[in-house]
């Protein structure tokens, strides 16, 4: 054993002799006269384009003034002297201190960003006075359309300690050497790996002042992948502008592929504010505004579906052989449980007369659906509509989805320790009660219905282009589920929805002079959660207590290429508040027709750069 120990220690001793005697001069040179530093070469982040190649996110260069602490001597005096030369604010110094605490000493850290040419030149002349300080150019992210599509595109922000932990865990940390930003939301976050690219590096010998003497080794960075979205930025503008200053959400999907055609969360925000660290005032405003501009309403906003739930309850009924034609009821304008005097009222006090399934959808007959829901029972009802994606995340390529809520007796027992009451089943039939859906789920369910029960996974990215090879890979549509629905049952529900936009339907005005057929359903959802607004002035309360307006639609009804859900918060009735927004979107998508009034000033459109104008041609 002693022999084993001594021979291995002998091996070590030989290694030391090799390093410290044989190779001494080599290492001595490296250590004493030169320093080797590893300079990461950050890859260009991939562009984000709309389906026509309009740039939604791109990169541009800015000059930054950077300090390498290990080479700079006394940092305090260095910064003070730099401050006499250039403008350095307290915020700059604060940010520098924060970055320094997160970096290693030999890394270059920006003290000032966005230097103009004059400032850069001014420093260059005085460079000799500042060892370890250098002008560098870094890529910054820019979103040319500003607030349009902000919740879908998302934004990047500075890498924080939480991101660092995640990167270390996934083993990607060294690929982020030199990177200062990472996707924080939306597509920017979901496709971070593809957009970022592979960091290259240069092994350089530097003299004692930190100047590069020669490059010893180099590996080129691999630029990030460009992403092509399925949205049309013009359509996006039309949809967002159609909301005016109202709050709400819109999701439009191609039912045949699941491609997202428009994704609106109103009010929006300018993602450019986040790129270089958002300032305190804007952050405060965005967070504290009653309108909650940062909430990603299509996937995070949960609303009672109201009457837009009825087509799915109708499918549940028909597929379970309830209310098959020629079943009809005579609607007195209310519904009562067998041994109760409580009246569940129809929205039309006198009732709708004789009502079958198809008409019940067209006129949105509450009485009809109260009875159907009770007949089905809560478990059978929720089990069925779950197939349409309610109560589960849709799987869209944006993080942070809320799963909504499909209530069941077990759920209520868990949540409230109370049994389920029949009356609660009755109101689920008209999309009230505990039921909560996201606009995304509602749009996805509508698309699934439009596609005769074949659910496609919703997605925003339809193609990925590699700038290195120039190759484009299309993202194939994915079938998420095939609900086995009977064709005759689908026909009944679809006919009922088509009649909604015809005279006599609840959204007749939406369908007027369309030039194509629209299948739709209106909805109105009672606002809950009054308490949180209680402290604000009365006029504001009243407005915010109004019902939410909902609208689902697909068109052309016989061969749908667009399906959507629109929610206008506190908008009142779905047909009049949300319907016209849907109509504008469909008009543009199907007919190429823009709304009468110009949506955006022409100058805005000019700021949009064509895809050919491509900064990523640069190497650094």
């Amino acid at each position: 054993m002693a022999f084993f120990v001594m021979s291995l220690f002998g091996l070590l001793a030989l290694r030391f002799i090799y390093l410290q005697i044989t190779q001494y001069t080599h290492y001595q040179t490296l250590a004493e006269n030169n320093r080797i530093s590893m300079v990461p070469i950050v890859p260009n982040r991939g562009l984000i384009l709309d389906k026509n190649g309009v740039v939604l996110a791109h990169n541009f260069f800015v000059y930054t003034l950077e300090i390498t602490p290990s080479k700079a001597g006394n940092l305090k005096t260095t910064i003070a002297e730099l401050g006499q030369l250039l403008q350095i604010s307290k915020a700059d110094i604060k940010r520098f201190a924060k970055l320094k605490s997160e970096s290693r000493n030999f890394e270059s850290i920006p003290i000032r960003t966005h230097l103009n040419e004059i400032e850069a030149a001014h420093f260059a002349v005085n460079h000799y006075r500042f060892p370890g300080v250098a002008i560098k150019s870094r890529l910054y992210r820019h979103y040319p359309l500003g607030k349009f599509g902000a919740h879908m595109i998302g934004y990047i922000g500075r890498i924080n300690s939480k991101d660092l932990v995640a990167l270390e865990k996934s083993g990607d940390l060294s690929n982020y050497k030199g990177s200062y930003h990472i996707g924080k939301s939306g597509v920017e976050q979901f496709y971070e790996t593809q957009l970022h690219g592979q960091t290259g590096f240069e092994q350089v010998e530097t003299d004692a002042d930190g100047h590069a003497v020669r490059v010893i080794a180099r590996s080129a960075p691999v630029p990030g992948t460009n992403l092509v979205l399925s949205v049309d930025s013009k359509l996006q503008e039309i949809a967002e502008t159609a909301f005016g200053n109202r709050r709400g959400a819109l999701v439009a999907i191609n039912p045949k592929t699941g491609a997202v055609l428009s994704y609106v969360s109103q009010p929006g925000f300018d993602p450019n504010l986040f790129v270089d660290g958002i300032d305190v005032d804007n952050w405060k405003w965005l967070n504290e505004s009653l309108d909650k501009p940062l909430v990603n309403r299509p996937i995070r906003g949960i609303y009672p579906p109201g009457s837009t739930f009825k087509p799915f309850v109708a499918m549940a009924g028909l597929e379970n052989a309830k209310r098959l034609p020629p079943y009809r009821i005579s609607d007195p304008g209310f519904y009562s449980l067998a041994n109760s005097r409580h009246r569940y009222r129809d929205w039309k006090p006198d009732g709708h007369g004789m009502v079958d399934m198809q008409k019940a959808i067209t006129v949105s007959c509450d009485t009809f659906f109260y009875g159907l829901a009770l007949d089905l029972g809560i478990v059978r009802l929720t089990d069925f509509v779950r197939h349409f994606g309610f109560g589960a995340k849709s799987g869209i390529d944006i993080r942070g989805e809320n799963a909504g809520l499909l209530p069941t007796p077990e759920w209520k027992m868990r949540r409230f320790k109370q049994p389920w009451y029949q009356g609660e089943t009755v109101i689920v039939g008209i999309g009230q009660g505990y039921t909560l859906v996201t606009p995304m789920q509602l749009a996805q369910a509508t698309a699934t219905l439009a596609n005769n029960g074949v659910a496609m996974r919703p997605h925003t990215v339809v193609a990925m282009q590699s700038p290195a090879t120039g190759r484009t890979v299309n993202v194939a549509p994915v079938v998420q589920d095939r609900i086995p629905l009977k064709a005759e049952n689908i026909a009944i529900v679809k006919q009922g929805m088509m009649d909604v936009t015809l005279p006599g339907g609840t959204a007749a005005s939406v369908g007027a002079n369309a030039g194509y057929s629209i299948a739709a359903k209106t909805g109105t959802a009672q606002v809950i959660g009054i308490k949180q607004n209680a402290k604000y002035d009365s006029s504001s309360i009243n407005e915010r207590h109004r019902d939410h307006a909902l609208f689902i639609a697909y068109a052309p009804a016989d061969n749908p290429t667009i399906a959507m859900a629109v929610i206008v918060e506190n908008g009142g009735h779905g047909g009049s508040a949300a319907g016209p927004i849907a109509r504008k979107v469909m008009d543009y998508y199907l007919l190429g027709k823009s709304p009468n009034e110009p949506a955006v000033k022409p100058t805005k459109a000019k700021a949009v750069q064509p895809a050919g104008h491509n900064e990523s041609a640069h190497d650094e």
Partner: protein
């Protein structure tokens, strides 16, 4: 005076104590330099040493047959705690290693480092016959279960040391070279197959482990800078507090895993050979104690402790000087840190106990 102290020191092995004391002194000087002349670190480390000495003294005063008695319960406790970590442990830096007991947090894998050789030594003592292949297989299983649990945390460095500690017992108990060779061969044959089962990122990590230059901005950077530090130290070193690599912050983790690079830069080849000699003396003394031990248990345990200490030193110096992949193993008695210090001194205490309890007949 003498009357009072003599009973206290009767179980202290003066030769081991001398080497230990001298090595620790060297360690404190290096730490002062490596920490950027931060006296508070030296103070903290001194506290660690005092604590470790207390543990060592206690261990030295427990007779080996007492240790033999607690070997199995300690092992079982260790396994139970490791399972508990797996189920309810707290995660830090992506690894689940700690068990929160309310008052204090413990790291059960540390217990395993001493419980493993004790358990296996106990197992082979209990056999009382020449161990056959079947017995070695059973012992191998006893070794494998805790190692797998530690690997899963994941803590590669500790898993490696536990494996080494257990393996040395098997070897000292007479594990034949044939079996050893067979095991190595079957592992070599299985390796390509296992490789295909790994995720891409796992493969990449292993590739980087063996070839740091593939990741020059990450762990490869450590090795490159450490080698420059060692090489530029030359024959006699740059002198205490004068290492440019160390003082200018080019060496990462320079008070813990990479402290050897600081030492080597400032004290040169002479310093390295001195340190190797000190470690050799400690290890050889341990092996002598093992060979003179009266019981099988004492022989196996002492041998394993001495060889595990060697593994520590060899793996750390090997990785810092660039001949072994970088795994998180500290340099014994020199690296900053309380846990490793206490565990090492506990081991040395057990060695002293085995050395000084020769007259007591083991059960």
């Amino acid at each position: 005076m003498n009357k009072f102290f003599k009973p206290l020191l009767v179980h202290i092995d003066s030769f081991l104590m001398g080497c230990l004391f001298f090595t620790l002194m060297v360690g404190l000087f290096v730490l002062y330099s490596a920490s950027g002349q931060d006296f508070s670190k030296v103070y903290d480390q001194t506290v660690n040493i005092v604590l470790a000495f207390s543990v060592m003294w206690l261990a030295a005063n427990i007779a080996p047959h007492q240790l033999e008695r607690i070997a199995m319960p300690l092992y079982v406790l260790g396994v139970v705690l490791l399972v508990a970590v797996e189920l309810v442990g707290s995660t830090s830096h992506g690894a689940q290693r700690w068990l929160n007991l309310g008052v204090t947090k413990i790291q059960p894998s540390e217990i395993m480092r001493i419980a493993m050789p004790m358990m296996l030594a106990w197992y082979f003592t209990k056999l009382e016959v020449r161990p056959s292949a079947k017995h070695f297989a059973q012992a191998g299983l006893l070794l494998l279960v805790p190692v797998a649990l530690v690997m899963k945390q994941p803590d590669l460095g500790t898993a490696l040391l536990i494996t080494a500690a257990g393996f040395y017992v098997l070897f000292l108990a007479g594990l034949s070279w044939k079996l050893l060779l067979g095991g190595t061969l079957s592992l070599a044959i299985a390796a390509p197959f296992l490789w295909t089962l790994l995720h891409d990122y796992q493969r990449r990590r292993i590739e980087i482990l063996f070839d740091p230059s593939q990741d020059p901005l990450g762990s490869g950077y450590h090795t490159i800078q450490a080698m420059i530090a060692i090489g530029s130290g030359g024959f006699a070193g740059k002198g205490w507090l004068n290492g440019t690599q160390a003082q200018l912050d080019f060496i990462p983790e320079r008070t813990t895993d990479f402290i050897f690079a600081v030492f080597s830069e400032e004290f040169g080849l002479l310093g390295n050979l001195l340190l190797l000699s000190l470690f050799s003396l400690i290890i050889l003394r341990g092996l002598v104690i093992a060979s003179e031990a009266k019981s099988t248990f004492g022989r196996l345990l002492a041998g394993s402790i001495a060889l595990t200490f060697f593994t520590y030193a060899f793996v750390n110096m090997g990785m810092v000087s660039g001949i072994l992949p970088v795994v998180g193993v500290p340099l014994p008695l020199i690296s900053y840190g309380g846990t490793s210090m206490v565990m090492l001194c506990l081991g040395l205490g057990i060695l002293m106990s085995i050395a000084t309890h020769k007259n007591v007949v083991a059960t």
